[in-house]
């Protein structure tokens, strides 16, 4: 059964062209293929099913999903560049890698096979200067038009420490719409509320939106490059700040990738603490967002009620873990906070109280016709589009996709205490809100069960830096969806972190926030809606700008 992805790829490109790579931890398997077969391998995986039911019974269910695509500069190893694609099906993640020569870093584009590759590859081209051949849209992404076009920040030859010189006069060719009564509304980057910056351009006829194009990258801070100079220890601090609302999930994902690369098994007790914090983060964000969705329908009452619950959860976080958002509480090797018996009893009481209060508000949400009028049928993302776009997280689950990295890639205690995954098919604002209502309930149940039997023992084990050239992969379900990290240790001589000068530093740390795929879904879901419903639809997705822009 383990040979499955291998057989799928081999049947398409031939056994001789497939090489198993041994250095990557955290995935089912990693394969190297010559670059001319990179797209063929993708095609084979998309068309193939996953074995279902009894062994040998090959029920074709769904093809594999492109979870992430990225490039590396491997010149410190004396090689050229490389392009990677990570695929997922069921509980398996595989990586396909192609080496690219330094003087001609190009590869066959996956954009015609997997839609999310459209933006992954624009990003690869813009930041690494590795070209996807036959990609239909090579406008820069994240890198704005006032950057020099031939400067590639993720290359080793680029000095990340000096500010970039801008070149004035660049232009970004937007999608256009002409015709009688068609007009355009540009919005952002600075928005009216207290939110992150991004630019949206609508074409509308009357009130109906006929096209939306997003331009992001405003909060690009050079996070991936920064990881390389910070090294393994301070990297954990940076990972906690990739997206401040998902700080626990990003910290876990970074730690798991590093642990996979170092081949270290983290402390058991810490895994349970991580899971408790991850579920608390999910509850806090869902509470705030369900309220905010109500607020965008002008139902301020529920907004305030939900924000009261959210504040109570944050204050409890401060008491239990010493930080309202639980930043820097997860480290490679373990966790930085523990709970005693009293705290655990207090948390159980808090969850009982929260559950009671939450249910009262949910009844009001369900009962209100004016709310129903706004959220039902608005911003529909159909299941087929959601699948095509490779969406993840609650956005995918509200549109019929049963995806949850806690089930696909479980760490203890999720292997024993298995989350129930709510799936709805209507794909509208209500579905996205309701999936989150169900998830709050489920997270409260998970925390209650986890607190019953957290294993005793140490909270942290030493996590030495990965060996030179080692790679590690992780997929963690944050409240927004599946977060993926992939780290690669450099050769011994590369720039190392200040506290580990004898070890290999970080050659590359790839971050794929769920927003990187889900932003595209908003563009699709908004079509045919009216302009005044955009804030509501946008809120129901609530994707991260910082996590996307890096």
């Amino acid at each position: 059964m383990m040979n499955w992805p291998k057989e799928i790829i081999a049947s398409s490109i031939g056994n001789d062209n497939l090489r198993e790579l041994a250095r990557c931890g955290g995935v089912t398997a990693a394969y190297g293929v010559p670059r001319e077969f990179f797209a063929m391998a993708a095609k084979a995986l998309k068309g193939a099913g996953q074995p279902g039911g009894l062994a040998g019974q090959l029920a074709v269910l769904d093809g594999w999903r492109l979870a992430a695509e990225w490039a590396t500069d491997e010149t410190p190893f004396g090689r050229g560049f490389a392009v990677f694609a990570a695929y997922n099906s069921g509980t398996e993640y595989v990586i396909v890698k192609s080496d690219l020569p330094q003087d001609d870093p190009s590869f066959p584009s996956l954009a015609g096979i997997f839609t999310p590759a459209l933006r992954f590859e624009r990003q690869i081209q813009s930041l690494m200067g590795v070209s996807p051949e036959a990609h239909p849209d090579l406008r820069p992404w994240i890198k704005h038009e006032d950057w020099p076009w031939d400067v590639y920040p993720l290359r080793k030859s680029f000095d990340g420490k000096t500010p970039l010189k801008k070149v004035p006069g660049g232009d970004y060719p937007w999608a256009r719409a002409d015709g009688e009564g068609v007009y355009e509304i540009p919005v952002g980057p600075v928005h009216a509320g207290i939110i992150e910056p991004g630019h949206f351009r609508f074409q509308a006829v009357g009130e109906d939106i006929i096209n939306l194009e997003e331009k992001l990258g405003y909060v690009h801070k050079g996070i991936e490059k920064r990881f390389e100079s910070l090294g393994w220890i301070f990297g954990a601090r940076l990972a906690a700040r990739v997206s401040g609302d998902s700080t626990v999930a990003h910290s876990i994902a970074f730690s798991m990738a590093v642990e996979a690369a170092s081949m270290v098994a983290p402390a058991q007790r810490a895994l349970w603490m991580r899971a408790v914090m991850l579920e608390r983060e999910r509850i806090a964000n869902h509470l705030g967002d369900i309220g905010a969705i109500c607020n965008d329908t002008a139902f301020a009452f529920l907004h305030h009620q939900f924000s009261i619950l959210r504040e109570k959860v944050l204050r409890a976080n401060q008491r239990f873990f010493g930080h309202r958002l639980m930043m820097d509480r997860v480290l490679p090797g373990g966790a930085a906070v523990d709970m005693d018996k009293d705290a655990s009893e207090e948390m159980l009481k808090e969850i009982v109280w929260l559950s009671k209060e939450f249910e009262k508000l949910v009844v009001i949400y369900e009962d209100n016709p004016s709310l129903e009028d706004r959220v039902w049928g608005a911003g529909v993302l159909s299941p087929s589009v959601a699948k095509e776009l490779g969406t993840v997280g609650f956005v995918a689950r509200a549109s019929g996709q049963a995806l949850d990295a806690r089930v696909q890639n479980p760490f203890a205690p999720y292997d024993r205490i298995v989350p129930k995954v709510p799936v709805l098919t209507s794909g509208d604002v209500h579905a996205r809100a309701w999936v989150r209502v169900e998830e709050v309930r489920e997270s409260m149940r998970l925390i209650r069960e986890m607190l019953q039997d957290i294993p005793r023992g140490r909270l942290c084990v030493p996590c030495p830096a990965p060996r030179p050239g080692a790679e590690g992969f992780s997929a963690v379900e944050g409240w927004r969806g599946e977060i993926i990290y992939w780290v690669q240790a450099g050769p011994l001589s590369s720039t190392a972190g200040p506290l580990s000068s004898t070890d290999a530093g970080i050659n590359r740390c790839m971050v794929r926030d769920p927003s990187s795929v889900n932003w595209l879904a908003l563009e699709e879901a908004i079509l045919g809606n009216i302009v005044p419903d955009f804030p509501l639809c946008n809120k129901s997705f609530n994707q991260s700008y910082s996590g996307h822009d890096l």
């Binding site: 207290i194 910056p197 690009h220 490059k225 700040r241 009452f301 504040e311």
Partner: protein, 179 residues
């Protein structure tokens, strides 16, 4: 409807009480702030908020400063959608290179006299993101700042306290024009 009314009455007013330390801080801060705002801003100070590159944690806490517990509006603080009638510019994050122009334009769109409050450790010196090819570092590198509120992220009460410091000239810490 009955459910809503019942919920409203059973919730009551949750603004306060906080933990004793925070409570005294917020009520003392609040009382002082209200007085300053009454005298210097005709009882209402308008704030324009710009995220210049933050990780979103500071935004969450700025939101929380408006929630029923902290209820910053009761002191006369009010977040506005336009810089044109703002007295104070609240900025979070290290300033990303891609937000530099937008931040400067927002600052220039505000009528003088104006105040700038930089929120969070990143707003002070770039924090964990530092200065680099895509980050210009602290807010002070791009526009003049009157008050820095440190913390990662600062608690809602600290943000409210920072606004108080901004409207009290004696407590100025930055190099901004002041009032």
């Amino acid at each position: 409807m009955l459910r809503i009314l019942r919920q409203i009455f059973s919730t009551g007013i949750v603004t306060e009480p906080l933990s004793p330390a925070e409570e005294s801080r917020i009520t003392v801060t609040g009382a002082l702030l209200e007085k300053k705002i009454e005298r210097r801003f005709q009882r209402s100070v308008a704030i324009r908020f710009v995220d210049a590159g933050s990780c979103n944690a500071c935004e969450l806490e700025a939101h929380a400063a408006n929630n029923p517990f902290y209820n910053s509006e009761r002191f006369g603080i009010h977040f506005t959608a336009s810089p044109r009638f703002a007295d104070i510019l609240l900025v979070t994050g290290p300033v990303s290179i891609n937000m530099e122009t937008a931040l400067k334009r927002t600052y220039n769109a505000m009528p003088g006299p104006k105040l700038v409050v930089a929120i969070g450790d990143c707003g002070r010196d770039g924090g964990v993101f530092g200065c680099g090819y895509a980050s210009a570092g602290g807010v002070g590198n791009v526009i003049p700042v009157d008050v820095y509120v440190t913390g990662c992220p600062p608690a809602p009460s600290q943000i409210i306290h920072g606004i108080l410091r901004a409207v009290s000239p004696a407590r100025k810490t930055g190099d901004g024009p002041g009032f």
